[in-house]
């Protein structure tokens, strides 16, 4: 963490609310991204991040090492997302599709297909499986860091990651087979 970030954390730990708000502002997009990926629901993601930030402020004096502050926020957000997922069993709201930049010259139709396929496969995973994929692939954490954020042993994290990856692959392959079958029927 940069010096200015450390200073903000130290000020927040000392009870400086403005410093905490600055830290929260710089982390909010990332935390919301984590919750959005785990929950696949905009409103639920916002609630989860709000709960995580509230908890962070109430427990701010538990911070012992400013360098671990981000990891702590990630952990609070992941755990808040688990709880939000439990609270909101049932249908979820759709996420607004991201913009595709046609100027990049890539196969826009193919990219959308791929994205939708990953999206559909990811939706079939439970929040725990999504979380392990998010901390590993989106946050790009090491195994030890990912395990710390999830609050589980490294071995458990690795096995969950392996199972989640397998489950995602199976879901996408099933989606592929369904698409092929649909094409053959139409032909």
């Amino acid at each position: 963490m940069a010096h200015i970030g450390q200073e903000l954390v130290e000020r927040a730990v000392a009870g400086d609310h403005e410093a905490f708000v600055s830290l929260a502002a710089s982390a909010y997009q990332r935390l919301h991204g984590i919750a959005r990926l785990i929950l696949r629901d905009e409103d639920a993601a916002s609630d989860a991040v709000q709960e995580a930030l509230t908890s962070a402020w109430l427990h701010i004096r538990a911070v012992r090492d400013p360098d671990r502050f981000d990891a702590w926020l990630h952990r609070l957000t992941v755990h808040a997302s688990y709880r939000e997922a439990k609270r909101r069993r049932g249908p979820v709201l759709e996420i607004a599709p991201a913009q595709v930049n046609l100027a990049d010259g890539w196969d826009a139709v193919g990219a959308v297909d791929t994205r939708d396929q990953v999206e559909r496969g990811f939706r079939r995973l439970d929040p725990g499986q999504r979380a392990v994929l998010v901390v590993h692939h989106y946050l790009e954490l090491s195994d030890a860091e990912a395990a710390a954020v999830l609050g589980i042993p490294i071995g458990t994290m690795k096995s969950r990651l392996s199972r989640a990856t397998s489950a995602l692959r199976a879901a996408i392959e099933a989606d592929d087979r369904a698409s092929i079958a649909m094409t053959e029927v139409r032909a």
Binding site: F20, S55, L76, A96, A98, G151
Partner: protein, 341 residues
């Protein structure tokens, strides 16, 4: 490029794209508003429930542990002072408790006792970071001869004729409780048996969960819908193998808890018989595990039945009926660990 790395690449691209969309307008301000005007907990209390991510270096851990010991010592001293102060203020004429909190380890006086939700702070605010089951206390009446130790309430604790019960906030269930280190995990049964729109419990065959846990007795294993402590619950009867020597660390672990790394439930003794109640407390699970040994006497089992019949699970704003009145909603006496069909 392998199929796995191709999948990883597609996944990373999709995640970055999805996560990069701006959050809904106004929600950050709303989140900040919930912290405005609230004071952080004092340092000695802040660690409790903080979910702090500890760093690895040894000296820091030692320093942290020393400080934590000081914090715990201060917290205990303050709690004792608070109890003494309350006792003095209340005076003998004003005392009207109908139940008493369980001590950490001791014999229990006959009468009404309670297990307080450990994830609720002194202001009655539930710490959902650790335990989301929305109950305040589990109130029950014990006869003479019962004791408590390490969260267990029981009789003849640690002996061949033990009978006991305990409450748990379960995260996931080990599919193989003997080889729990390498075991896959699945959701607690009740998590899959609640119908989303209606909230009704649907005890049906399923994958995973305690109903399919390995080495826990004959299959198929029935999930029965019951009422415990005024709440809906699913009940399942389980057993523990007689020889645990080949199990990981010699321990038999049923489940993990949200805040306990590496699994939690290691209370199982070889040959133990369990009846597990998965209680639906406002659609959040609370697990109450009633256990006994093959050598437990019928009289002690009858006492356990009576305790469970007296049990009331208090929720926020729904206190237990006063002592002496009937506990409406309590289940009829059911013998935990009764013979399985």
């Amino acid at each position: 490029m392998t199929a796995v790395s191709e999948l990883d690449r597609r996944l990373v691209d999709w995640m970055n794209e999805t996560a990069s969309s701006p959050p809904p307008a106004g929600r950050f301000e709303q989140a900040v508003a919930t912290t405005t005007g609230r004071r952080p907990r004092p340092r000695w209390l802040a660690s409790v429930g903080s979910d702090w991510v500890e760093a690895a270096p040894g000296w820091r851990i030692e320093w942290g542990q020393r400080r934590l010991r000081w914090e715990v010592a201060v917290a205990v001293a303050l709690l004792i002072a608070a109890f003494v102060g309350l006792a003095l203020v209340a005076g003998p004429g004003n005392r009207a408790p109908t139940s008493a909190p369980l001590p950490a380890a001791s014999a229990l006086a006959p009468g009404t006792q309670f297990l307080a939700n450990p994830y609720t702070d002194s202001n009655g605010i539930r710490d959902c970071l650790r335990g989301c089951a929305d109950y305040t206390r589990i109130v029950f009446t014990v006869p003479s001869g019962w004791a408590t130790r390490e969260g267990l309430v029981g009789k003849h604790l640690g002996q061949a004729d033990e009978v006991a019960f305990s409450a748990w906030t379960v995260d996931q269930v080990y599919d193989d409780p003997c080889h729990w280190r390498s075991s896959t995990l699945s959701l607690l049964d009740i998590e899959r048996h609640t119908d989303g729109p209606t909230g009704a419990l649907i005890p049906a065959p399923q994958d995973g969960g305690l109903a399919n846990q390995r080495l826990r007795g004959p299959l198929p294993r029935a999930l029965t819908q019951v009422t415990l402590g005024g709440q809906r619950a699913l009940r399942v009867d389980l057993s523990v193998p007689n020889d645990l020597s080949a199990c990981d660390d010699g321990e038999f672990r049923s489940w993990t808890e949200w805040d306990v790394a590496d699994g939690a439930n290691a209370h199982h003794a070889p040959g133990q018989l369990d009846t597990v109640y998965m209680v639906d407390v406002d659609r959040r699970p609370l697990v109450i595990d009633a256990s006994h040994m093959p050598a437990t006497s019928a009289a002690d089992l009858a006492e356990l039945d009576a305790i469970f019949a007296s049990m009331f699970i208090e929720r926020t704003g729904v206190p237990a009926p006063s002592a002496g009145s009937s506990l409406s909603g309590a289940s009829p006496a059911r013998r935990p660990g009764a013979p399985r069909s």
